[in-house]
């Protein structure tokens, strides 16, 4: 769905994270939602109402479609969270598990 304009970018270190157990690579400075889209893993969650799949929509923190679990903390807005080496990301299914 998205590709990186590699030739037009300044060099940046690679950051490794895992998404549902699979390792993906991002650019240092990426927003998590951008990293997920660049890696072809844009499906963040399914809704608690109908179970429909959702992906990042507004990229500016207002639509709440890109909610994921980051390092064990549920319902984080992936479009507001910068990536970090070793970050563990899990997509969400329906309503959040209490305590996560």
């Amino acid at each position: 769905m998205f590709r990186r304009l590699d030739d037009a970018l300044t060099p940046a270190p690679v950051v490794g994270l895992t998404v549902d157990g699979t390792r993906i690579e991002a650019r240092a400075g990426d927003l998590l939602a951008a990293a997920l889209l660049a890696a072809g893993r844009g499906l963040c969650r399914t809704t608690p109402v109908s179970g429909a799949p959702r992906a990042p929509y507004c990229m500016m923190g207002v639509c709440f479609e890109c909610l994921v679990t980051v390092d064990g903390m549920g319902s984080r807005q992936a479009c507001l969270v910068p990536v970090r080496e070793g970050m563990v990301v899990e997509t969400q299914r329906g309503a959040r598990v209490p305590g996560r």
Binding site: S75, A95, R96, P98, G99
Partner: protein, 377 residues
């Protein structure tokens, strides 16, 4: 919407909140022609801000009749839920799994137990509320997610909860199913008693009805004198927090923490004397949040997506008023702060009395004359 004036009805119910809607539905299902006059979208609407408990365990200290009335409504509730679902397709999600109040230290528990003892020891108590004091060990078995600060609690098998928003919608759909007419944006200006009933002037025109039921919450204070009654009610602010939807974790409602059928968790609630100010304050919300996270630590990570403050409709003693006007027969006053709990009693017990034209003598305890006697001491 049909013509905004010239309604002619058996009953005009003033107020479209839970009390008015339950009463109107109860009247309409008995075949009475009902018009409900309601305010607009930004009314002080306690029905949108309640905690949705169908609650028995602490009701009636100071008025045993209220304990019996509450218990009766709790018993009638599953019938109400069934009938509304059949009629409207809306499931109000009533459940009566038994409910708890939780104490965070021994002093709290002792105060709670002493209150219940006084309640049960009243000479005129006619019903059992079935309350039990539950120690921490037993609690942990019934509410596995409680935190270490919970020392004990009180359980009542007749406590339950419902989805009060679905209840309000179901009552509105149901009363219209039975032919009742709902008019929003029709704040009442004047009620004029006449030979054949009442002429009600409101923002949408005029309605004539043989009988009139005042169910306007706080607004009853203004309306009651128009029919020779008095409604000494004041607003009491209650603040509530609501979380995002969570997977089910809490089977029983707790008086200040309950998980809705949709998964969100409601956390309440305060009792504040703040006049008509229905703004929220972070100090109260922080206190609510602190107690809730001590009761259920796993809630600390949940996102709060909403808060609100609503105005309860309080009388001096906290009990309902049911009154018939002696000066203007056919005018009735209904007011309470437990519109969810009492919905079934209003629909199935009170409405038939109104339809018959008189309140039964066994509701005399709720008459407003009780406020004329100065309290002892």
């Amino acid at each position: 919407m049909a013509g905004m004036s010239g309604d002619d009805a058996d009953f005009a119910v003033l107020g479209g909140g839970l009390v008015g809607a339950a009463t109107a539905w109860g009247l309409a299902r008995l075949g009475r022609r009902v018009v409900v006059l309601d305010e607009g979208d930004v009314a002080h609407r306690a029905s949108r801000g309640n905690f949705a408990l169908v609650w028995v365990q602490s009701k009636g200290l100071g008025m045993p009749r209220y304990a019996a009335w509450t218990r009766q409504s709790s018993d009638l509730w599953s019938g109400l839920a069934d009938e509304l679902k059949r009629e409207t397709g809306i499931d109000t999600r009533f459940e009566r799994p038994g409910g708890f109040s939780l104490a965070l230290d021994e002093a709290e528990l002792e105060r709670r137990v002493a209150m219940l003892r006084r309640l049960h020891n009243q000479p005129e108590m006619t019903v059992a509320l079935g309350t039990e004091i539950v120690d921490r060990g037993r609690l942990a078995g019934m509410l596995p997610e409680i935190g270490p600060d919970v020392v004990g609690g009180v359980y009542c098998p007749f406590d339950g909860h419902a989805n009060s928003l679905k209840l309000l919608r179901a009552l509105h759909a149901g009363m219209q199913h039975h032919g009742a007419v709902y008019r929003g944006g029709c704040a009442v200006q004047a009620i004029e008693p006449s030979a054949d009933g009442f002429r009600i002037r409101h923002d949408g025109g005029e309605t004539r009805a043989a009988r009139v039921v005042l169910a306007a919450g706080i607004g009853n204070a203004r309306l009651a004198p128009m029919v020779g009654l008095e409604a000494k009610v004041r607003p009491q602010r209650g603040q509530i927090l609501v979380t995002e939807r969570l997977q089910p974790f809490l089977r029983h409602p707790v008086v200040t923490v309950r998980q809705t059928d949709e998964g969100s968790v409601m956390l309440g609630d305060s009792q504040e004397e703040a006049g008509f100010d229905d703004s929220v304050g972070t100090d109260v919300l922080a206190t609510i949040a602190r107690r809730a996270t001590r009761m259920f630590p796993l809630l600390g990570r949940a996102n709060v997506v909403r808060s609100w403050a609503a105005l309860r409709v309080m009388t001096r003693d906290g009990f309902p008023i049911y009154a018939a006007s002696a000066r203007h027969p056919g005018a009735f006053l209904v007011t309470c702060h437990s519109g969810v709990t009492l919905a079934a009693a209003h629909a199935y017990v009170l409405a038939p009395m109104l339809a018959a034209g008189a309140l039964a003598p066994d509701l005399a305890a709720f008459a407003p004359e009780r406020f004329d006697v100065s309290p002892p001491g």
